[in-house]
């Protein structure tokens, strides 16, 4: 059957806001009751707050429900039924797949899913991929290590469900992946922004092939905010001659936001499947208006084995104005702006490392990689930005230095110490990059 609809599910994606809110409240009540009935972790959390599911009748009640953090999962796990312990809401023999978080902020969280949950993951990714224009005529390459990290697993299954032809590019190095993409004439792939740019660099500099010649039309990005950072998005699109789209998801949550082909400068929240609340970084009060940063508290309405109810993701975002695509799902302007543990005060100024990415990637003479370090020099915070000039721009350091310093100051209200390195000297990353180091925290 041929489908002209730009929406995977117009019933939900174009639902009037008022109705959508009504539906969300009912779905919130349903998953809260499930978690309370099935999980000792949630039962204890709500008992301690003096709450029962029947108490949640209005949106004001929803805001009173305690938030959950990674640490709650960790303390409930690593006990029987092994390894999910008190966070598990189904019999262990119904769990059909295991994943885990990367553990960058501590002990990894174990993530169980039943087959139904996995279908749900896939369904959420169908919303994502359909909105980006993926169809059954696409041949999609997945250049990621198929392993315990959820990464693009659901992308693989969703691409199959959409009828795309999926090429799993698991245990290959970057050059081998690129040659396979060329050989098979794939027209789409998925990767982190860091890897999308890294692949283009390997293609040009190691293989001597112009990435534009591969005929890629669509690239789905996840794992880092880059595809919603205008200068990084532009670099990727120019390198590959493709449309680049952002998506947001997490192991404990699911794939919950996506950019559509209208490219509204942000990502739609899948509000049929998730509740996203933004709360003020300092007061914790709801943030409803566009343009103000808030911390994301998120609920997955339909994930059952290990529910995610008012999970404090530590990510920071802001609402945007409505999109022109016809979806009524709200848009997060610029996707994810950073994490609360990365957004920090430097010399008394609120500083987001993502702003450095915007500045660096907007200067064409600079290579894709950079590193940002905040440290104390005596009692004073000092920011160091390390960059590389592209090989053919090595004699332009003086003018680039002046522009970079000026743009950084304009963007952040901060001065920084600039270090120029030879092309290829800064670390390269295959998955998520670690470009920001706050060395002050070591002294606290």
């Amino acid at each position: 059957m041929h489908h002209n609809s730009p929406y995977w599910n117009p019933l939900l994606e174009t639902m009037p806001r008022e109705k959508l809110k009504d539906l969300q409240l009912v779905k919130f009540q349903r998953i809260l009751r499930w978690a309370w009935e099935k999980s000792p972790l949630y039962r204890r959390l709500y008992d301690e707050a003096g709450l029962e599911p029947g108490d949640i009748r209005t949106w004001a009640d929803v805001a009173r429900v305690p938030t959950l953090e990674k640490e709650h999962y960790r303390s409930a796990q690593a006990k029987e039924p092994w390894p999910y312990g008190e966070s598990l809401c189904v019999p262990l023999d119904e769990v059909t797949v295991y994943h885990q978080t990367s553990g960058t902020t501590g002990q990894p969280v174990y993530q169980p899913d039943t087959w139904r949950d996995w279908e749900w993951w896939t369904e959420c990714w169908c919303y994502i991929m359909w909105a980006m224009g993926f169809r059954n005529t696409d041949r999609v390459f997945l250049p990621f290590g198929y392993n315990v990290f959820v990464a693009y697993w659901a992308g693989h299954y969703a691409a199959e469900k959409l009828g795309c032809e999926v090429v799993p590019g698991g245990v290959l190095n970057t050059a081998e992946r690129l040659l396979k993409m060329q050989e098979l004439r794939v027209n789409a792939f998925m990767a982190t922004p860091t890897y999308v740019l890294g692949m283009a660099e390997v293609c040009r500099n190691k293989l001597g092939i112009d990435p534009l010649s591969l005929g890629i039309q669509r690239i789905l990005c996840a794992g880092e905010p880059g595809a919603s950072v205008p200068s990084t998005k532009r670099r990727m699109e120019e390198a590959w001659g493709a449309d680049v789209y952002d998506h947001i998801g997490a192991t404990e949550i699911g794939g919950w936001a996506y950019e559509c082909t209208a490219k509204p400068g942000g990502t739609h929240v899948n509000e049929g499947m998730f509740l996203v609340e933004l709360v003020d970084l300092e007061t914790g009060l709801p943030v409803e208006e566009p343009g103000r940063l808030g911390r994301i508290v998120i609920t997955a309405f339909d994930r059952l084995a290990q529910p995610c109810v008012r999970f404090d993701s530590k990510d920071v975002a802001m609402w945007a104005e409505d999109c022109t695509c016809g979806r009524t799902f709200r848009v997060l302007k610029g996707g994810i702006h950073g994490r609360t543990d990365h957004i920090t005060k430097v010399k008394g100024v609120l500083f987001s490392p993502t702003s450095a990415e915007e500045v660096v990637r907007d200067i064409p003479e600079l290579a894709d990689e950079f590193e940002l370090i905040v440290q104390k020099k005596g009692d004073i915070d000092e920011v160091t930005l390390k960059v590389e000039l592209l090989p053919h721009c090595s004699d332009l350091e003086a003018e680039v230095r002046e522009k970079l310093g000026r743009d950084f100051r304009m963007k952040t209200n901060l001065n920084c110490h600039l270090e120029f390195h030879a092309f290829g000297q800064l670390p390269r990353y295959e998955v998520k990059a670690k470009r920001f180091k706050d060395l002050r925290k070591d002294n606290h």
Binding site: Y7, N9, P10, L11, L12, T14, M15, P16, K19, D22, L23, V26, K27, T114, W115, R116, W118, E119, W120, E123, G272, M273, D302
Partner: protein
């Protein structure tokens, strides 16, 4: 009830009937591993139709395909 609402109700009824039939099949022949596990997968797919369509209709009854 408008024609469109009748159509929507029929869609919902069809999804729920499929679920009922799969459950019936599992009851009848679930002792066969091939039937049991394939029913599990069918039910998971039906669950997605419930989330996408049935929930919209039953949890939020005023919503019809008019918005589409």
């Amino acid at each position: 009830m408008s024609d469109r609402q009748s159509e929507d109700a029929a869609v919902v009824q069809t999804i729920l009937k499929i679920k009922e039939e799969v459950l019936k099949l599992r009851e009848m022949a679930g002792h066969l591993p091939c039937v049991d596990r394939n029913c599990e997968r069918l039910l998971s797919s039906v669950a997605m139709l419930e989330l996408d369509v049935v929930d919209v209709w039953t949890l939020c009854p005023d919503q019809s395909r008019e918005s589409a």
